[in-house]
Symmetry: C2
Subunit: 377 residues, 2 copies
């Protein structure tokens, strides 16, 4: 499954793995794919530590960093620094919404101390907080790609990254968004169907992928949303994409930092157990349905806030569930795509890549056999 | 694209075309595919007329008939005859809901006479009304397949159809429903992803298709939801299905009985202009979003009724929009899948089939080239 994009980035397989775990980044790139570290949860200082660790373990393989600069978010026109913006946004979180979030946690037996409100953090959800992450990433030679998970990156940032010889990618959920990325000069467009985990639109992959390919040709397109096997990668390439962008699978590998409890929740889930919910990030994001997501749907409860305000509330839940993983599955943040329904066990990362390559070859053989049968008729 | 299922049914390409238009059935089967007539809107007498016409025009090609026997519907345990059931259901339609539907139409300038309430018809939405349709279909030799669009057909009906040498198919939106079909003895399972037009679930095709293939193997699976090109068929076959079931494309062919106005509405639509709505049939069904679908979503308005009661109200809109197509686009029933976004013109049916076959071959060539490049590395 070697496409031109593989040569551009110096990789063997066009398998792009989005993950928040440095170990998975290393394992994927070493197995011939392309690991991409999600930076949104790290301060610049923490990100520097992670990237240095990856550099030391990845050998001569390349990898990527994924940031989040949404096209629209609260405070985006403020021109404030990260700290000032955080201060302003903090004051915009309604006490009632914050109290509702706290109560959801304590009602589920999560021990929540006053100090746990320090989760009213901004993280890297804005241009002001993502830019220092890009600054850090550009100091690491093996980082060959910066991807924006949500929206078109600012043109000056695109140009700054490209001037260093690196590539810029951006996710989209419609041909309209893909066109905006292309016009801004993005090198690689990631088309994510509505079945995808994390932030996604409503149009299904099988419909979206070829529309985006057609819209931005000859810019290479990666297929996201529903990638969890080599057959699905074969389908993606048949639809004109140059590779696959996956996230869900990497939550369920041995190298992942997810807890055993959380991995079991993913393994137990069917494809109908996910929901597009605004309850964690403020924008529609696919995750496992649980008490937290259901509570924010009820008309009598507060509405989720916009991005990045909602995470200043839900961050409490994320922090608490990291601290008390066994007590808090019903209010935890478990972003994942519908493809979760096909995963039945925890595997080693290298075994997943090998399996996908093998399945891909089987799928293309199947098509060859069908064509031979047709020729024989 | 010749699969074993083609030999089972005596066709050239595993392209199954669902349509309410007899002309399209004939055109598809004559072009090497397999036309399937949706029977739900016809009385047994009308259906007999349609099938006789098809028999006279289709040459020696086979075709299918699609009925609707939902797994659950109002009045399903009544054991009443069709006429008695219709009478009972008519009395269950709340006056307020009926008035709301009438007002929606008159507010949009649709001239609605008192007599137009004869649209409080039951149609073929129940076992009592679908069974006579099956009786008619079984009298036509060229009908080689009976499909149930919604739910597992009753076991005695499956056996009765199979005893005549015909095949039985049924649609599903989850591996769970597929298992029920398989256990009941259905010959062909149609897995329809959430992007599909008409009644559909929420799981996307790229995720659903391989799950259903795995669940019911070796029973052949047809891929539905997002089929509108040969590339999409290649993707479906790569995922282990034996063919494609399509509906949206056939609304936009020259042979279709859809009005020019309605075809233009489809051509103008993007993939984001469809919605899963209960406002016409009572069950979630994908269609173009318009004033009618939006009105039934509003909390202050009556909720849609269950199946088949809701159609006893919306049938008025369907009848009116057939009568006054140019005045009523905003309240018309336009079932279609997200794939509508890729259709840009009205084509001849035979040209569509030829295009799909050509595109399929191009897609498999692309995969061959990718494999050759990999072998050369």
């Amino acid at each position: 499954m070697h496409t031109p994009l593989c040569d551009t980035l110096g990789i063997e397989y066009p398998i792009f793995a989005f993950t928040h775990c440095r170990d998975v980044v290393v394992a994927v790139s070493k197995a011939g794919g392309f690991g991409v570290l999600g930076a949104v949860g790290y301060t610049p200082e923490e990100l520097e530590v992670e990237l240095r660790w990856i550099d030391e373990h990845i050998g001569d393989r390349p990898y990527g960093v994924d940031i989040v600069i949404p096209s629209k978010y609260e405070g985006m026109d403020s021109n404030l620094s990260g700290d000032e913006l955080a201060e302003m946004l903090r004051s915009m979180v309604p006490q009632e919404t914050l109290e509702f979030g706290r109560r959801l946690l304590t009602d589920h037996g999560v021990p929540l101390a006053e100090g746990d409100d320090n989760s009213l953090q901004l993280l890297g959800w804005t241009e002001a907080t993502a830019t220092p992450q890009v600054d850090i990433a550009l100091q690491h030679d093996k980082v060959r790609l910066i991807a924006n998970a949500l929206g078109t990156p600012p043109v000056d940032m695109i140009e700054r990254i490209q001037a260093t010889g690196r590539k810029v990618a951006a996710l989209c959920g419609s041909p309209y968004q893909a066109r905006k990325h292309a016009d801004a000069g993005v090198d690689i467009i990631i088309a994510q169907g509505g079945e995808g985990g994390g932030h996604c639109g409503e149009v299904g992959s099988i419909v979206l992928w070829p529309q985006v390919v057609k819209e931005v040709a000859p810019i290479p397109v990666l297929a996201a949303g529903g990638i969890g096997s080599g057959q699905q990668i074969a389908a993606a390439l048949a639809l004109g994409t140059q590779g696959a962008w996956s996230g869900s699978q990497w939550l369920i590998v041995e190298e992942s930092a997810n807890t055993a409890r959380q991995q079991q929740a993913y393994i137990d889930a069917s494809s109908r157990d996910t929901v597009r919910s605004r309850s964690f990030t403020g924008k529609p994001c696919r995750m496992l349905r649980n008490d937290w997501t259901e509570a924010w749907e009820k008309p009598e409860n507060p509405d989720p806030l916009g991005m990045p305000l909602q995470y200043m509330v839900s961050g409490m839940a994320v922090a608490a569930t990291h601290k008390y993983p066994d007590q808090t599955v019903d209010v935890a943040f478990n972003p994942v795509g519908q493809v979760v329904g096909q995963f039945r066990k925890v595997e080693k990362t290298s075994a997943v890549i090998e399996r996908w390559v093998q399945e891909y070859l089987e799928a293309t053989s199947t098509l060859d056999e069908i064509n031979s049968a047709a020729a024989g008729v």
